[in-house]
């Protein structure tokens, strides 16, 4: 890192201009991550799923509006019609949009309708060969869904498409590892939970009680 000489000349930052101008939370978080996250949901949910989701929004907005004793809840009146895709939203409203999606997805009715709208969740069809491309046999699970309207599956594990019992046991071990990692994440979550009373805690409670 380059230090200016002398370091404190006229109050200049010793770390240079990049450190003297910190990133702005408005553009980095509210207009950055929140917008990208909404774009992800928009690109990966079909219209029917959006309809299920948006039908829940007006009731959620009205229920949040009734909690007038808590001033920390975000102002949701912009979305009382259920239209999350309107233009001219401020940074706070884009944040509110994500909160509303989170609350809507936390509802048990939405979860059930998402899972059972087109039938139950499919079983993994391991070893089913779907394509032959350039002489290579590609199992169906490893075919990446290029359509932007579909949920992209996780990257295939090497040897995932075979029917060997040893590999299926490997899959179960990996799932266990993932589960342990998720639990570890939750344990290390204490840092974020140290913030004052906010809607996040309440939302998390809703999720744990309703979904799980």
């Amino acid at each position: 890192m380059h230090f200016a000489e002398p370091a404190d000349l006229f109050g200049a930052s010793p770390y240079g201009i990049c450190m003297a101008t910190p990133p702005e939370p408005l553009h980095a978080v509210l207009l950055g991550i929140m917008v990208r996250l909404f774009q992800f949901f928009d690109a990966n949910l079909t219209e029917k799923y959006w309809k299920i989701l948006l039908d829940e929004i007006p009731s959620i907005v009205s229920s949040i509006g009734q909690q007038s004793c808590v001033s920390e809840y975000p102002d949701c009146q912009k979305f009382k019609t259920g239209n999350l895709g309107q233009g001219h939203l401020s940074g706070k409203q884009k944040y509110t949009r994500i909160v509303l999606i989170y609350i809507a997805l936390s509802r048990t009715s939405v979860f059930e309708s998402f899972e059972h709208t087109y039938g139950k969740t499919p079983k993994l069809s391991k070893g089913k060969i779907s394509k032959k491309k350039n002489g290579e046999v590609i199992p169906e699970n490893s075919v990446k869904q290029t359509d932007s309207r579909r949920i992209v599956e996780d990257e295939p594990v090497p040897g995932h498409g075979n029917n060997d019992s040893a590999e299926s046991s490997d899959d179960s071990v990996e799932k266990d590892c993932e589960r342990e990692a998720n639990e570890k994440d939750r344990r290390t979550w204490k840092i974020f939970l140290s913030c004052p009373v906010s809607e996040v805690l309440i939302l998390m409670m809703i999720r744990y009680t309703v979904i799980l």
Binding site: I33, L105, Y118, T188, P196
Partner: protein, 183 residues
């Protein structure tokens, strides 16, 4: 509705899809959605992304002080490690497949937040929300009352701004108060 949106907005694709839906299209003519199946595991991962993103913002904008032990160790401090874990989780569960993907400064800066908190304290100390809000009144509203031509928009915006300031300054000593919008 789309005419009011700016051409360089990042959300145009998002808005166009949803706005068309909100206007209402016939169900018979609308393209049928493809079959997507949500497993409980996948669904919970999506919820986790939303939950942690909201919690991260709340933690960043926390006005109170933070315990020093969370920031001891620099890039190996518990805060820095947790931020890195959040980035990995976000990349895994909500990837971006268009453009540069998640190779964005906005995303990269997440793992540097701990350093700026050490330097400047709470993010509220350098939050640009209120100054940006002032642009609505001083730049956007005055800019909308021009002819919106490239040659004259600067001059006309400046004139509208000058007139607005002049009227406000003369109205203040006369105790004339303006009705202000909430937004």
């Amino acid at each position: 509705m789309s005419g009011f949106r700016s051409a360089d907005s990042d959300d145009d694709k998002v808005y166009s899809h949803l706005v068309n839906k909100s206007v209402g299209c016939d169900e018979d003519t609308a393209p049928q959605p493809e079959k997507i199946f949500f497993s409980a595991e996948r669904y919970n991962k999506l919820l986790l992304v939303l939950e942690e993103t909201i919690a991260l913002y709340e933690w960043l904008m926390k006005p109170d002080g933070r315990p020093k032990k969370d920031f001891e160790g620099g890039c190996d401090s518990p805060t820095a490690l947790r931020l890195r874990e959040f980035m990995k989780m976000y990349k895994m569960n909500a990837p971006r497949l268009v453009g540069m993907g998640l190779k964005l400064y906005k995303f990269h800066i997440i793992k540097k937040w701990y350093f700026y908190i050490v330097l400047f304290g709470s993010l509220l100390n350098f939050d640009g929300l209120r100054p940006e809000c002032g642009h609505k009144i001083h730049a956007k509203m005055t800019g909308n009352r021009t002819q919106k031509r490239a040659e004259t928009i600067n001059f006309q915006t400046a004139m509208r701004h000058y007139e607005k300031n002049l009227i406000e300054r003369t109205a203040m000593p006369c105790n004339i108060f303006f009705k202000k919008d909430k937004n």
